[in-house]
Symmetry: C2
Subunit: 360 residues, 2 copies
Amino acid sequence: MSKLRRLGAVGLAALVGLSAPAMAQGDDRISENGTVRLDGVEVPLSSFLSEEGREYLRHLIVDKPFGNAVPDIAEERLRQDGIMAAFLKPMRERYAVDIHEDRIGGVVVDVVTPAEGIAPENADRLLINVHGGGFTTGGRSASLVESVPLAALMKIKVVSIDYRMAPEYQFPAASEDVVAVYRELLKSYDATKIGLYGCSAGGVLAAQSVAWFQAHELPAPAALGVFCASLGGYFGGDATMTAGALNGYLPPLDPPPAANGPPPVPGYLDEADSSDPLVYPLSSDTVMAQFPPTLFISGTRSFEFSAALNSHNALARVGVESQLHGWDAMFHGFIYNSDLPEAREAYDIMVHFFQTHLAD
Amino acid sequence: MSKLRRLGAVGLAALVGLSAPAMAQGDDRISENGTVRLDGVEVPLSSFLSEEGREYLRHLIVDKPFGNAVPDIAEERLRQDGIMAAFLKPMRERYAVDIHEDRIGGVVVDVVTPAEGIAPENADRLLINVHGGGFTTGGRSASLVESVPLAALMKIKVVSIDYRMAPEYQFPAASEDVVAVYRELLKSYDATKIGLYGCSAGGVLAAQSVAWFQAHELPAPAALGVFCASLGGYFGGDATMTAGALNGYLPPLDPPPAANGPPPVPGYLDEADSSDPLVYPLSSDTVMAQFPPTLFISGTRSFEFSAALNSHNALARVGVESQLHGWDAMFHGFIYNSDLPEAREAYDIMVHFFQTHLAD
């Protein structure tokens, strides 16, 4: 798992900027036009990308704009918050919402509502968001990036939870925070009218939370969105082995991932048992069989893509309705960038999914 | 397109055996354990593969068992029929069916029925299959490989069409044959109780046929299965550029794909207009918007995988219900091998899809 974790750090680097190994200058395996060339195998920017997607992916591959993670967790959070602020800015122009801080069940949350008002059919409905950021960053920042588009496009209230993270806290602190908020919200909202979703670490946490609700005899939400993640963590399969390279992170990596600052020690799941369905629901057919309808969103140059495919198939196997949409050549967390048509196409699919599955 | 077509030939080689460029002996980029190594990027057999899947993929990568295509089309068909016969043998042991030849609307078909009898709920329902084989091979052979599992598992009658192929015939000869059979079957079956599916060229043809029915004012079938294909042909995106390499076909290819025998000239779609929705329905939102619920089945080491993702997203965009299931590291046409748990998992998903969408 430590090898996978290092590979994951490389993959994360490709977009979310958790860490960014320096590329040897003038590496002839990477062309200015974004083509990656490995032992004669040429992989240009995908023919299925939008114009904006092509240009942004080229920029990521060639310029590696997100820089390196820093060891101090407070500084790293500030750095990540800055990255998220840059994603949030065009969203605020594109999607009119009101945002206010609240405290629910003792936990700080951001409440995001559409400026135009909640749609009549969504007056009794709610989305709960749990943000990404590797279980170490993203509180109050990635939160908004994940909540603003859905609140505005679906015209629904979104509550985004500022759950406890590593290195200060470990599993199951975040699940405990989610359940505290959920219990309180169940006093005002029926579970059949609640959707739960998250991206990256938030996708993992959303899935963990559904298992946690089961174990604590709380009703499942009506629908689950596992974005940029799976029911069994981020890693495994071909995507984990190829995403870094296709995003321009080519060996030998300098500095090597292990020497590359965060992930902080201890990581949120370092001591967790991966065979525990409260950690990875994929490990229990019984737990998965009680999952609500689930939507997976990912991209083929995302290290979690293979895991998402696998979880989608696993839900089919146990008879749970699920949907998977993937975008060719899209990278980890591409939905954070609302300037990409691919991201906006994903929002539309998310909205349709929750509109369809939340009870009237 | 000719470059894509050549790449496609390489990809096809990886499984279906249409052509198989020889690997330089002792290429140190391919390990005996199936790991492919490109400029230091190591891609082992996917951690999500079943044991049987791992061993079979290793065998494909290391041993390249399907040999080279031959230039003579009659000989090539015999060679391909032999490959299909080897896939059919374990199927006949696993799935008890009766097979008989018939002629419907003037076209030869194979009618495959479950030996245990058609299920009562399927007495008025029907599946129509159009086989794969690059629009050049597979008549009466790939046909059975695609029909036997579904007939037995769903307990339903499957009619598989021996449509006209290249090089003797070109587009739209196969569509004309499908519609001739379909018109005749509509006298006995309601369109809401008919499912249509195919794999590879058959997946393309199934999609073309739905557009053809529309253009000729025939009702759409209740459900469509586009397997190992998309609504816009096989090619495009990252998968077309990477599938060959990940299946062990590494440059420089010897002999180069262009010199590698078939595809025969003229190919079935060589003169067809790719912007014509009767050729590629993906080119018309209006045509796609009238598609029935559609299931895509593919694998990430299949050259059509990116195209399948893209078509699945396109159907969502125009409001058509669709499903996509992909298997990590699975190759083009993996569903032909019923010894693979991945293939049997796919059959279960196909059966569930048609059971759900064909009218009672």
